[in-house]
Amino acid sequence: MRNLVTSALLAGAVLASGTSAHADDGYFGPSEKQLTFKEEGERTRTQKITLLSLAGGAVLAGAVGGYFMLDAQTQGEMVSASGMHTLKAWSEDLADTRNDALRSNTIATVSFGVGGAFAAATIVAYMITQPEMKVGYQDWQSKRSLPSVAPTAGGIVMSQGWSF
């Protein structure tokens, strides 16, 4: 009822302005034309879970890699030496520390590799599961249309909006 009233007011205003603008037949009346719009589709629940799992795997593997990298760094610094004499005799304990540093380094390398694979898989999965654009149609005469009027110097500006 409000739309009808507004349309009527608009039509009246246009006519009163004396310009060449006029309402065509069917401008606000029935028409077979439709509004065409595109909107991004949504990923399925499974796709979202998959993406989150892959990203989580990347973060987890990265965290594990980071932990062991720090461990390798700490233990490596305990035995690494160059230049000056350490004034220590090489011992089984030092050898164990060095081996632990190497083991942590290996674990960190593998973890970063796995994390990288997860990250790459996340990116690929993100691209693959990119939802296609959906094309939608809406009647010009949709009940959800909203006309508006704004007065300007020497006339008015009319518009009509649709929500989808």
Binding site: G76, G83, A95
Partner: protein
């Protein structure tokens, strides 16, 4: 497939650069996490133990202590000339005579002694003189040798050859010289002649499976006042 190729052409996007930078940083960080040990930074441990890719320098003459060095820098073991010139000194009759060691006197060998193999014995003879007035005169001796080759043992014997005291490990925890010390401390040592015997430690297993059954040593003999 076409979709993937199309997407790949746009890779990396602005948001993906940080991920690539982080991955590169991780790779560089990993490279720096590996322990790196260069030559001459560690003394050889027992059994000539050295870090991988390094070997024990057993033949050097510039230092008393064996160090871990690159394989190309290592020389084979040889007893130093002053020590070899003293041979044979395997029995009390052939012992190096140190003469009298008075109360409060200390005798320290500037040159390194050397045990060439499992059969070698180095014997030192000394006498406690009659003018020693201490109430309970002692004989102390300290044998110091590098950890890198076979451990050595020290015995104090009297004139008849009876073993009075056997050395025990007395290396200080603060000792950072890459050496082991064995000490003899024999109380109530009366006036007379004594011998010190330096041999390979029969109980020591750190002889590199027989490949380092030798070592150098330094010997200090002290005759404290009381």
């Amino acid at each position: 497939m076409e979709f993937l190729v199309r997407q790949a052409a746009r890779f990396p996007t602005g948001a993906q650069w940080p991920a690539i930078a982080m991955a590169a940083a991780a790779v560089f960080s990993l490279a720096s996490c590996k322990p790196e040990i260069s030559g001459n930074t560690y003394f050889c441990g027992p059994d000539s133990l050295c870090p991988p890719n390094l070997v024990c320098q057993l033949g050097g003459t510039e230092s008393f202590t064996y160090s871990c060095v690159l394989p190309g820098e290592a020389d084979s073991f040889a007893c130093p000339v002053p020590s070899a010139d003293q041979e044979p000194d395997d029995s009390p009759a052939q012992a190096r005579d140190l003469g009298d060691i008075a109360c409060g006197e200390q005798v320290q060998f500037q040159n390194w002694g050397c045990i060439e193999d499992g059969e070698d014995i180095d014997t030192f003879r000394f006498t406690r003189p009659t003018d020693c007035n201490a109430v309970a005169p002692r004989v102390k001796a300290t044998l110091r040798f590098p950890l890198g080759a076979a451990p050595l043992a020290l015995e104090l014997r009297d004139e008849s050859g009876e073993v009075l005291s056997t050395g025990e490990t007395c290396t200080s925890e603060q000792d950072n010289s890459g050496t082991e010390q064995v000490c003899v401390d024999h109380p109530n040592s009366p006036i007379g002649t004594y011998t010190l015997h330096v041999v390979l430690d029969a109980d020591g297993n750190a002889d590199c499976d027989g490949n380092c059954r030798f070592n150098r040593y330094q010997l200090v003999i002290i005759s404290p006042q009381g």
